[in-house]
């Protein structure tokens, strides 16, 4: 299964689950990355990290290492 960190520029995906063992998983959930939501990779920073997603009508930037805990269908 893909993770959100592997999405390409402009690609969308539906969140399948959040890896609960990741230390940032709670914050990831709290800002609105929940299963069933569609997210789109909007922008990447200069070194391809962090990356910005649209989720629930807002733009959230997260590090790639943290985006890895978002599993995509």
């Amino acid at each position: 299964m893909k993770t959100a960190a592997e999405l390409k520029f402009g690609e969308t995906g539906i969140i399948h689950e959040i890896d609960k063992s990741h230390p940032s998983s709670r914050r990831i959930l709290e800002v609105g990355f929940t299963p069933g939501q569609e997210i789109e990779l909007l922008n990447t920073s200069i070194f391809n990290d962090p990356i910005a997603f649209s989720v629930r009508g807002s733009i959230i930037a997260v590090r790639k290492s943290e985006a890895n805990c978002i599993k995509i269908l």
């Binding site: 070194f47 990290d49 962090p50 629930r56």
Partner: protein, 678 residues
């Protein structure tokens, strides 16, 4: 602050996610003028005030740092959450007003649910409904209120729309609470686990669909919409990306572009720091001329005696030498304010996260570092938004190296010495390079400290960068202007008295004990006599005694005791360096312009007992280097103590930075001399 509140009246706490309009609402309710910023985490301390008189009832309101959940992730969030359960001074709030951004409903409802589940009495203030409306959606507050079982009121803290209803609802709720007795809130953080979050968000999606409707133009379509809603087949993209601001997406494609993004980032930074010099020039000239004229007239009016010297030199020149630079400080605050208000700062933080994380910092260190260019004290406070403790301590550690506005007067004077006024753009470029130097030195320092992290800063945590990028907004110029006026006023109030007191002290120590030196005045013009008296008085003064004591330290860096005394007095506040120079080099002359007379006195000055010029390109550059590194600010040390929790870090900062300053000044002065620049 005590007078700001009314004892024994109800406490209303404003909470809400970052950027949801708390401070804007707080300002409207209290009639205050706190800074609102388009960056999550601009408020890191609570502020409290009483309700404005015009609302006709008494209550205290508390503004708090933004939170997105009742489980804290960083110290600024902890401040808010702790104050909800029991504020250290004001106890438990009687009523909580939760601001929720209407265009972020499903995300922001989390806090509403957690607060309600914990038994808080809340009213929801729905903000940004104007933005939602422009996108063609409407939220029914009555339906949302029914879903959540609390009052929901649409407000706009910028215009005051809906505030009347909000105040009415506050009154009613307070009455109800009084009648029923307030149930204590329950601290049930452990219940807010992942399962709780997942099921809550499911509910929120349903609620959002239920209460949101598309604004349709034709009646028929409204009916159709209603029908759809009853069948719950309202199309799904209502909740999707429709709310995303398309302009923001377009701007981000440029500003976060891999190549352009970085180029624009540097251009923005360069413009910021060069404009401080040339934009302020005309204003500075006015201040400069007025002080020069004032000092000259007073001196003429009072004649030649100690009192006249005290007023014209000690007070007018001493403080004026610093006040000349207030326009520059004002412009610095103005530009930083404009940047804050657009929403660019969050992008800046994202762009620099990767490079900063390599040296043990975080993208969230960017805004504290940038505000370090205005003043280290709020900058150190704003590091509370950094969740990871080690990254936060490291950011605090290097903030004193950022070139704060108190150094600006010093640099401006020294650069004006190096580059004549006609070439003020060269001075502007030189200033920009000083700022770049301060950025480089702070990052190098960070990476070195990071290498020894376990020796100096020991704390380990999950390093994280999750940051909302707010929609871009055109900055409201009037708001930014009044904010920078207030910042400059605070600067003035804080620095003004210190400068006045120290100027008087320095004047005293340079004028006494030998205040009326005997000079063999035969065959000399009156002007010459005064000049000889001045230098005789100074060289037998208390300041000179101190100066001779520190002379051994000053000789290696090519300076004499007079600069030494100025450097020591600058440890109280950096700007005092300038007034101290003005006093020691006795600038009262007929030139009518304070700054140019300081400069011409400096150009004439010789190292005591020799025939060599004291201020040369080499020593001036050396002084600039000294100010880049030295930690000459008592308040910074005090805040660093408070925010790091012990004296350890401030003591290391003080000795390390001052030692480095001296070392690099030594290397600069002697290095420049070695290559023939004197």
């Amino acid at each position: 602050m005590k007078s700001e509140i009314i004892e024994d009246s109800p406490l209303i706490t404003l909470v809400g996610p970052p950027n949801s309009g708390k401070t804007t609402l707080f300002n409207y309710l209290s009639g205050k003028n706190y800074k609102t910023v388009n960056y999550p985490g601009a408020t890191v301390e609570y502020s409290i005030s009483k309700l404005q008189k015009k609302f006709n009832f008494e209550a205290n309101i508390l503004d708090s740092p933004g939170i997105i959940s009742l489980v804290p992730n960083s110290p600024d969030e902890k401040v808010t959450i702790d104050s909800l359960y029991s504020h250290p001074r004001f106890g438990i709030p009687d009523l909580v007003i939760l601001t929720i951004d209407a265009s972020q409903l499903s995300r922001h409802l989390l806090l509403a649910k957690q607060l309600l589940d914990s038994n808080f009495k809340i009213i929801i203030a729905l903000t940004m409904t104007d933005l939602l409306q422009r996108k063609g959606y409407n939220i029914s507050t009555s339906e949302l209120g029914k879903e959540l079982k609390c009052d929901v009121i649409k407000i706009d803290g910028r215009t005051g729309n809906g505030i009347e209803q909000l105040v009415k609802s506050i009154e009613l709720n307070l009455e109800k609470i009084k009648a029923l007795g307030n149930n204590l809130p329950k601290q049930i953080h452990n219940n807010f686990n992942v399962e709780y979050l997942l099921s809550s968000f499911n509910d929120f999606e349903l609620i959002e669909k239920k209460v949101t409707s598309k604004i349709l133009i034709e009646q028929k379509q409204i009916n159709l919409n209603k029908a759809n809603r009853q069948l719950k087949v309202l199309n799904n993209d209502l909740v999707k990306n429709n709310y995303l601001d398309t302009t923001t997406l377009k701007i981000d494609n440029i500003l976060l572009h891999k190549i352009w993004g970085i180029i624009i980032f540097f251009i923005i930074m360069a413009i910021t720091f060069t404009s401080i010099f040339w934009l302020a020039r005309p204003l500075m000239n006015i201040v400069d001329t007025s002080f020069g004229f004032l000092s000259f007239s007073v001196h003429n009016f009072l004649g030649i005696n100690w009192f006249s010297d005290f007023v014209s030199n000690g007070i007018i020149n001493g403080t004026g030498a610093v006040l000349i630079f207030v326009p520059q400080i004002l412009i610095l605050f103005l530009i930083l304010g404009l940047l804050e208000d657009t929403g660019y700062l969050a992008r800046g933080a994202m762009l620099v996260d990767k490079p900063l994380s390599k040296i043990g910092l975080n993208g969230r260190s960017f805004v504290p570092m940038l505000s370090g260019f205005a003043c280290a004290i709020p900058a150190i406070l704003s590091t509370r938004t950094i969740p990871n403790k080690r990254e936060r301590l490291l950011t605090i550690f290097i903030i004193p190296l950022m070139s704060c506005s108190a150094r600006l007067p010093v640099y401006a004077l020294l650069l004006a010495f190096l580059f004549p006024a006609k070439e003020s753009w060269v001075a502007g470029l030189a200033l920009a390079s000083i700022y770049i130097l301060s950025i480089i030195s702070s990052t190098v320092m960070a990476s070195i400290i990071n290498k020894f992290k376990n020796k100096i800063i020991n704390a380990e945590d999950n390093s994280s960068f999750i940051l909302e990028l707010p929609a871009y907004r055109l900055p409201k110029f009037s708001v930014v202007l009044s904010n920078s006026y207030h910042s400059a006023k605070i600067y003035f109030k804080k620095a003004g008295p210190i400068i006045l007191i120290l100027s008087s002290l320095i004047w005293f120590f340079t004028y006494f004990p030998n205040y009326n030196p005997k000079i063999n005045s035969s065959n000399l013009s009156q002007e010459k006599v005064i000049q000889l008296q001045n230098s005789e008085r100074l060289s037998s003064s208390y300041a000179a005694d101190l100066g001779r004591f520190i002379q051994p330290v000053m000789t290696p860096i090519g300076m004499d005791w007079r600069v030494g005394v100025s450097l020591i007095s600058a440890f109280a506040a950096r700007e005092v360096f300038v007034s101290s120079l003005a006093l020691i080099f006795k600038v009262t002359d007929s030139e009518h312009k304070l700054q140019s007379s300081i400069l011409s006195e400096m150009r004439k000055a010789k190292i005591e007992g020799t025939n060599k010029f004291l201020f040369t390109p080499a020593t001036i550059t050396g002084l600039i280097i000294f100010f880049v590194f030295a930690l000459q600010c008592i308040s910074t040390l005090a805040v660093s103590r408070k925010e790091t929790g012990s004296w350890r870090i401030p003591i290391i900062q003080f000795f390390l930075f001052t030692f480095i300053a001296y070392l690099f000044t030594f290397l600069t002065v002697n290095g420049l001399r070695a290559i023939g620049i004197n």
